[in-house]
Symmetry: C2
Subunit: 210 residues, 2 copies
Amino acid sequence: MNENSIERLSKYKSSLQKLKTLGFLKVFSDNLADALGIQSAQVRKDFSLFGISGKKRGGYNVEDLLTSINTILGKDRIENVIIVGCGNIGIALMNYRGFVREKIKIIAGFDIDPSRMAKVEKIPIYTMEKLKDFIHAESVKIAIIAVPDIAAQRVADLLISYGIKGILNFAPIKLKSQGEVVINNVDLIQEIEKVIYYANAMDDDNGKES
Amino acid sequence: MNENSIERLSKYKSSLQKLKTLGFLKVFSDNLADALGIQSAQVRKDFSLFGISGKKRGGYNVEDLLTSINTILGKDRIENVIIVGCGNIGIALMNYRGFVREKIKIIAGFDIDPSRMAKVEKIPIYTMEKLKDFIHAESVKIAIIAVPDIAAQRVADLLISYGIKGILNFAPIKLKSQGEVVINNVDLIQEIEKVIYYANAMDDDNGKES
DNA sequence: TAGATTTTGTGATTTCATTCACAAAAAGGA
DNA sequence: TCCTTTTTGTGAATGAAATCACAAAATCTA
């Protein structure tokens, strides 16, 4: 149950969805391995880790596999999510079409700035005072943090105290997860710095194999 | 020079910037290790890998360390970046304040939709026809892709053919890097799915240690 | 100056994910 | 029915990254 296998599960799902629309009924570990650029044994190990089994010589049934993966990823039903911080990133995520397809529903936004108490694409935006009651009333378990770094830890602590179990953090600061709460930090600066580093590194030894 | 050490370098930088504003002059591998939740030997190994050395018993000079890391990450000068795709994510990134602090400058946006040929925060947005000339004229090396998944591979191929060396891709599809080009894929769906999975997993065995 | 203490730098060790490799099962063909 | 082929499932081997552990250097103390 390591982090990488969860990540791959997500990628298998995306490949499988494409195969399904193409009318594929079964798939072999080899096919998925090629799609992700890994070894077929890795695919089978991942599946066996999560108790998914196929048929010897028959591969895996695409439909069943998708169902199993969705169940494991908790995507067998719609997941309600809130966003704290309705600046650029927050609003972009509210408008992001990709979530809908994946049964992820942004049900509300929260911000301290009263000028942002509008609606984005039918998603209501509330003041921070409403946060606690909303989380309880709607039993929200997952939140996205898109506030400036200076406010991020405070918001995280608040969310956790209100019962949030999983946080996706876009503030450029590593929030530590306390207790039974997962925090996944996505640092955009860091991601582009990686690109800049490797692009420069490749330019330096241009043409040479490592 | 593995991927993880580059990522950590970026994190050291962010910690060091905070220490600097707090007036710290020197720092020990132990301090940075604590900040990132790793072992001090790891910190020293990373630095030694990049030819950074400290003083025995004196630790590392904060200012010098920052300079070294910035040089390694190619952040000793302003990096010009373009964004292809001016939908929600693209526009959010254009407005994102964090980049400015890190000497990352978004100098233009590109989109097929003519209604988006406006300006965002002084950043001009052009049609795709201008892409080739702009990249050549400004010697742009880094691009961000924020188009729908269906268009992503085509845009990537285009960018590469125009001489782009590094791509940060936000389309929910894994673009394969060909030749001397780095592609870093950030899949937002995948990131939130990870959170949902772990939040559910923790809820299931609530309270139990693994 | 001598001895104690702190911290770096790195070889040795450990840990852990990935790949290899093959037995066992399933399906098809003659 | 029996032989051949295909593909799974998993124990063993590999490889790489993180951690351990300690000698060497630097600074401090008296």
